[in-house]
């Protein structure tokens, strides 16, 4: 990976003083993941270019324990050795430490002066594309030139890579240019090679202290730089190619929008009310996920609340959020979590008064829904069953949801009101339950409510 810094400020070779690297010498610096070299491909009074060449050892990088993704071989087949990411930031702060802090004993005034500078990076991983590159650098006064990189010239139909070639030009202090790159390259990449901790916050405040507060994208920069809390990545699941659907996101994928947060709260509130109204003493939350509903139900004085989910990760999060290991014995006896899939019969689910399935059935393949139906209504047989599911007719009302798409990538189906009513009626007659339907969320005259709920009673 490569960074070149060019100046036309005369005499251009003063760049060597600013960088503390002599233009006629090749210098090498050892780094934890390989080596950095500084060379000058051109050095004349009119124009001088310094190149920082990172020689990353791919095998060494793997052995350092790089994070991972759903792709099992991602540790071995990845772009890290070839792109300007956080590794470049580490190299910058190692090789150009003094320059970055604006120190220059021989030319202190030059270091404090904005001079004509150009930075080029042939491959920058840019999550967010050219638009984000511009939003990050243009407010800082750079002229931005972005070159797209095709994924494969033999497969033009595949389009462009998420990597871009980047050229930034501005009249700027060298220290500022280096600092901006130091902070913003990892932000563009959005994937650090090391784990984030408290020292990262200090680093960000140190490096971005004077320009970040005024940057229009400061929130995005901060969020991405301090890449949120340890991921929920689960290596064993990913070896089985389970597309890593983050359980926290599952809770409400559409949660970004205020009205959808509101809808989620209304949904949980409505289910909570229906459970109270049923007079149940012992309740099941089937498909409890990370425990959004459980947190409400534990306040409602039930004799027993049992959260059931197939995902052990979701249950771990739920246990943490419910602070299960800190509860006093009398409260702890009233809440339990069980790993169980609805598609397998489970005797432990028998004998409850009520069960809630909140946004669960749409995550089951239609052929497996029949098994879940029998297991819930014929085997577990709670007196009351509450089922909520999206109303597909409402989807066009979500402006941000592309037409024809489901609300969540893991949804196997989304039903219209008629489809849900037909299924509910069938379940009722097959298993001896009365059914009533309750809308959740603002009811649209034409397409109905965003969420539909059925209450089954035996």
């Amino acid at each position: 990976m490569l960074l070149t810094l060019t100046t036309t400020h005369r005499p251009a070779t003063d760049l060597g003083f600013l960088l503390h690297k002599h233009p006629d010498r090749v210098q090498r610096f050892g780094l934890p993941f390989g080596a950095a070299h500084v060379v000058y491909p051109e050095a004349s009074p009119e124009r001088c270019t310094a190149a920082l060449v990172l020689d990353v050892d791919p095998v060494g990088l793997v052995r350092r324990g790089h994070g991972s993704t759903a792709f099992a071989l991602a540790e071995y087949v990845n772009d890290r050795p070839y792109v300007a990411s956080s590794l470049m930031s580490v190299a910058l702060v190692t090789v150009f430490k003094s320059a970055m802090s604006g120190q220059c004993r021989t030319h202190p005034e030059l270091a404090a002066t904005a001079i004509g500078l150009e930075a080029r990076l042939p491959t920058v991983p840019a999550r967010g594309g050219e638009a984000l590159v511009r939003r990050l650098f243009e407010p800082l006064g750079y002229a931005v030139d972005v070159q797209s990189i095709g994924l494969d010239e033999q497969h033009p139909e595949w389009g462009d890579s998420r990597h871009v070639g980047l050229r930034l030009t501005a009249a700027v202090r060298l220290a500022d240019l280096l600092t901006h790159l130091y902070v913003l390259l990892p932000v563009l990449d959005d994937d650090k090679h090391y784990w984030v901790d408290q020292t990262e916050i200090d680093k960000l405040l140190h490096r971005g202290g004077d320009w970040l507060p005024g940057h229009p994208e400061k929130e995005l920069i901060t969020r991405r730089y301090l890449k949120h809390e340890a991921s929920l990545f689960h290596p064993a699941l990913d070896r089985l190619e389970a597309s890593a659907v983050d359980p926290a996101a599952q809770e409400d994928p559409e949660g970004a929008l205020e009205e959808r947060v509101l809808l989620r709260d209304q949904r949980l509130g409505t289910v909570r009310a229906a459970l109270k109204a049923s007079g149940a003493r012992r309740v099941l939350d089937l498909g409890c996920g990370p425990g959004a509903l459980l947190r409400l139900l534990v306040q409602d004085g039930y004799d027993e609340v049992v959260g059931v989910d197939v995902s052990s990760r979701a249950l771990e999060i739920a246990a943490r959020r419910l602070r299960l290991d800190e509860l006093h014995d009398d409260r702890r006896d009233r809440i339990r979590l069980l790993q169980s899939p609805l598609t397998y019969r489970d005797k432990r689910l028998r004998g409850f008064d009520a069960a809630a399935l909140v946004e669960v059935i749409e995550h089951l393949d239609p052929p497996r829904l029949a098994a879940a139906e029998v297991n819930v209504f014929a085997d577990a047989q709670p007196a009351t069953v509450i089922v909520t599911t999206p109303n597909a007719e409402y989807n066009p009302r979500w402006e941000t949801l592309p037409a024809g798409r489901f609300r969540h990538p893991d949804h196997r189906f989304e039903w219209t009101r008629e489809q849900f009513a037909a299924w509910s009626a069938g379940v009722g007659s097959r298993h001896g339950y009365r059914v009533r339907h309750v809308p959740i969320g603002p009811e649209d005259r034409e397409v109905g409510p965003p969420t539909q709920m059925a209450v089954f009673e035996r």
């Binding site: 990976m1 000058y40 051109e42 095998v59 087949v77 595949w158 064993a236 899939p341 397998y344």
Partner: protein
């Protein structure tokens, strides 16, 4: 005195302090069989005489006793037990485990007790203690039987205690020592003519009066009960079975009708319904004495029988596993009346829980009671009451042959309350939509396999598999197989190579395998194809009733295609190839499981190729090109960058090699015509699992399919090699070099016999030798750089190889269980375990 203790049972010793209970227990029982309250006091309070710890001590004692009785094992409680409340808890404990409590009372004189206590410094309590205990004991003696003790023995002198001969007798239900062979016969209900004719069918010589018979070759009859009521000749049936029992030719179990008749004959007030009136008429016409003999005979029948080393259990209405070999009121109720809920249905018939559906025991349970149209094995249980008296048939099950033999009823003697044909014909009740229980898969399990003995799945592996299986896999009824992982060959030391065929050939040679097959490794994705001749076969054999007639799944059990039309299109093409190749008849089957590779890889992995492989290639090429150009410029200025530039150019070459490597896996797929399927194993069909055929048979079968659809099915290239023949090996290596030089993925070397054994059990079912170029997309673009390659040689294959063998054994076991028509949960257990093992942390590059 002879004390005859039922084994297992709960033996309660009763006696004052100093009466010699512990000595008695030591003499007659194993130390581990005796639970002493003093010892338990010691366990919880460090002092065997600390009376304040009594409550905790008994909690420990009862806990251990409960676990022993659950096993079940004979258990002796050594405590004074002179108070009724403490005995009641023990009686309840025995009853909760459906075993008999028995009491042995040591009623020795106060003088004897006190003399013994005097010899023990830790028993310095006053004389009132022993006196009090003896008083309580005497108050209890008369009522022990009433308290629930099945037997009691009282020993009242040291001499008598000394002279005790203690023997253990198996419970009446325990006939495990009796190996058979048996003819288990269903509900007769007075159908004497049919019984005679069935015995004849079974090879018995029946006397002309039909009242006695001689069995063929040491066989014995086991009757499931209900000899009387509704049929025309209950008296004759009773005469015959009593005679057979008396002659040692039959074992008779009681049915609910028989129990009701006994109550009537004992003079109880019983309603004369369900054919009892007719039975009484028939008995009234029979020779005198039959009524009394029948009463005594039927009254003495034992609830159920455990036979043939515990492999066979017979009970009138079936029996859940927890009750096998046990005795109690509720065990008898279950055996006679079934698992009733106490509710009645719209016809007034009792609503039953489906204990057979939940049954997971290994013993076969044969029963009757509720007439069925067709006897059918469900989870190792079978109901052989085929409703003879209702005009159906009288059926026998031959054990251990498991053959069914039946004769039709001469006529309908009684109209059934509901039609016998209640199940839709052809649908296997074991394969309904909801027959899998979470207990069938969750938690740690040890799976018995024929090929590799036991395979253990850890709890956390099962937890991961549970999530994946339930969220992503196809309907489990289709999932009769998952393929094993495959280890690479031992690492080659040849320059520039990580893998080479010579190690694979040497491995099999060293394991004593003479002939191997080298198969071309296809450049696609693993696909397991289940194909049925039509959707009726899918319904009958797999229980899938949605109209589909096959499925294609990935190596982790997911649907290969999201698009149902594409899925059925692919299945249809395979089906028509099987049909044109005449394989249905050749293999005498209506369904097949094929192991295949589906090309191109990009059909399944286009997103991975685009987002991961191509993106890395594009970034690397752009970065390295720019770097090389910059360094060339610097070199032009006379800077000393020669080595760095050389390395950068070499890296750029590796990256180009890597891009070429993944590009070979890509071709455009616009529809089914662009796909290619390469079958290489014909895994199973109705007639069996073809692990007993060698790979040349499998490949010949596959070639026949390819010949039937040459434009769409792809042949698997192969070389057969004698591993002791240098020329043949050279030829195979040359072939591998040719394949991989052209960018091919490499080859798989397998022992010619499908499942061959070496000195240490199964040899690897196959090892892969992957090509140098292909490995770029596994180990990373620059892995072939000599410095990197040396570091990569230190890879450890042990875990992968061990997994490969265990998963192979599990996959074969799944198919064998399916072919044997074992219940779904037994097949699923194996498939699930393959998935669970695959969650293990193994280097994904192997």
């Amino acid at each position: 005195m002879r004390i005859d203790v039922p084994d297992p049972s709960l033996v309660v010793l009763v006696g004052a302090s100093g009466s010699g209970k512990s000595t008695f227990a030591r003499r007659h029982f194993l130390a581990t069989e005796v639970l002493s309250s003093d010892a338990c006091r010691g366990l919880v309070a460090d002092d065997p005489n600390d009376q304040s710890a009594t409550e905790d001590a008994f909690a420990v004692l009862e806990f251990i006793a409960a676990r022993r009785l659950a096993q079940p094992r004979l258990t002796v409680v050594d405590a004074t037990n002179v108070q009724r409340p403490s005995r009641r808890r023990l009686v309840q404990l025995a009853q909760a485990h459906d075993l008999f409590p028995v009491a042995i009372v040591l009623d020795l004189s106060e003088a004897v007790c006190r003399a013994r206590n005097r010899g023990r410094p830790d028993r310095d309590f006053g004389p009132h203690v022993v006196r009090g205990q003896r008083t309580q004991l005497h108050r209890s003696l008369r009522g022990l039987q009433k308290e629930g003790f099945r037997r009691t023995w009282v020993l009242d002198s040291p001499d008598q205690t000394e002279a005790v001969e203690l023997v253990r007798s198996p419970l009446w239900t325990d006939r495990r020592a009796d190996p058979g062979p048996f003819d288990v016969i269903g509900d007769v209900h007075g159908c004497h003519a049919e019984l005679v004719s069935l015995l004849g069918e079974l090879g018995w010589a029946v006397a002309s009066d039909g009242l006695s018979a001689a069995p063929p070759g040491g066989r014995r009859a086991v009757f499931v009960g209900d000899y009387v009521d509704r049929g025309p000749a209950s008296g004759e049936v009773l005469e015959l079975i009593m005679r057979l029992a008396a002659d040692g030719h039959a074992l008779c179990l009681p049915g609910n009708h028989d129990a009701k008749l006994v109550r009537k004959l004992k003079g109880r007030d019983v309603r004369l319904t369900h054919g009892l009136a007719e039975t009484l008429d028939q008995l009234g016409r029979a020779p005198t004495g039959l009524r009394d003999r029948a009463r005594d005979f039927l009254d003495g029948l034992v609830s159920h029988a455990v036979l043939d080393g515990g492999r066979l259990v017979v009970a009138h209405a079936g029996l859940k596993e927890a009750y096998h070999g046990r005795s109690s009121g509720r065990v008898r109720d279950f055996a006679l009346y079934g698992d009733t809920t106490g509710e009645a249905d719209e016809l007034g018939l009792p609503v039953r829980n489906d204990w057979a559906q939940d049954y997971r025991g290994t013993a076969a349970v044969v029963y009757g009671h509720t007439p069925v149209a067709e006897p059918r094995w469900t989870n190792q249980t079978i109901n052989i009451d085929t409703g003879c008296v209702f005009g159906g048939r009288l059926t026998a099950l031959r054990w251990p042959e498991r053959e069914l033999v039946s004769v039709p009823a001469a006529r309908e003697y009684f109209a059934p309350a509901r039609p016998l044909f209640t199940l839709p014909p052809g649908i296997d009740p074991d394969r309904g939509p909801s027959t899998l229980d979470v207990e069938d898969v969750a938690g740690k399990r040890i799976v018995q396999t024929r090929l590799a003995r036991t395979v253990t799945v850890r709890e956390e592996q099962a937890a991961v598999a549970l999530e994946v299986m339930s969220r992503f896999a196809v309907d489990p009824r289709w999932l009769v197989y998952l393929p094993p992982t495959m280890a690479p060959t031992a690492t080659s030391q040849r320059s520039g190579l990580l893998e080479h065929p010579e190690q694979a050939l040497a491995e099999y040679r060293a394991a004593g395998v003479a002939r191997v097959v080298c198969q071309e490794k296809h450049m696609g994705s693993r696909a397991i194809v289940v194909v049925c001749a039509d959707s009726d076969v899918a319904a009958e054999r797999f229980g899938v009733t949605d109209g589909s007639a096959g499925v294609v799944v990935t190596r982790t059990g997911r649907p290969f295609f999201d698009d149902a039309a594409l899925m059925s299109g692919v299945v249809e093409r395979v089906r028509s190839a099987v049909t044109s190749a005449g394989r249905w008849d050749a293999l005498s089957t209506r369904w097949l499981v094929l192991d295949c590779e589906l090309m191109p890889w990009s059909a399944k992995a286009i997103e991975l190729l685009r987002r991961q492989y191509a993106a890395v290639g594009a970034a690397a090429a752009a970065g390295l090109t720019a770097t090389a150009r910059t360094l060339e410029q610097a070199a032009g200025r006379g800077q000393d960058v020669g080595e760095l530039l050389g390395r950068t150019r070499a890296r750029a070459d590796h990256v180009e090699g890597y891009r070429d490597a993944y590009r070979r896996y890509v071709w455009p797929v616009d529809g089914i015509d662009d796909l290619r399927l390469a079958p290489f194993h014909v895994l199973a069909a109705e007639g069996g699992v073809f692990v007993d055929r060698d790979h040349s048979w499998h490949l010949d079968q596959c070639d026949a399919l390819v010949d039937a659809a040459p434009d769409w099915l792809q042949r698997t290239g192969r070389r057969y090699v004698d591993v002791t023949d240098p020329a043949g090996q050279d030829e195979a290596v040359a072939w591998w070099e040719q394949l991989t030089a052209a960018g091919g993925e490499g080859m798989v070397v397998k022992p010619l016999g499908f499942a061959e054994r070496g000195a240490k059990g199964l040899v690897q079912p196959g090892v892969k030798c992957r090509g140098r170029e292909y490995l770029r997309i596994i180990y990373g673009p620059e892995y072939a750089d000599p410095a990197q390659l040396d570091r990569l040689r230190g890879r450890n294959l042990g875990r992968k190889r061990s997994l490969a063998v265990r998963e192979f054994a599990l996959g074969v076991e799944a198919l064998e269980r399916f072919v044997r028509r074992e219940p779904l949960h037994r097949v699923h257990e194996c498939v699930f375990s393959v998935l669970a093992l695959e969650s293990d942390a193994v280097d994904p590059r192997l």
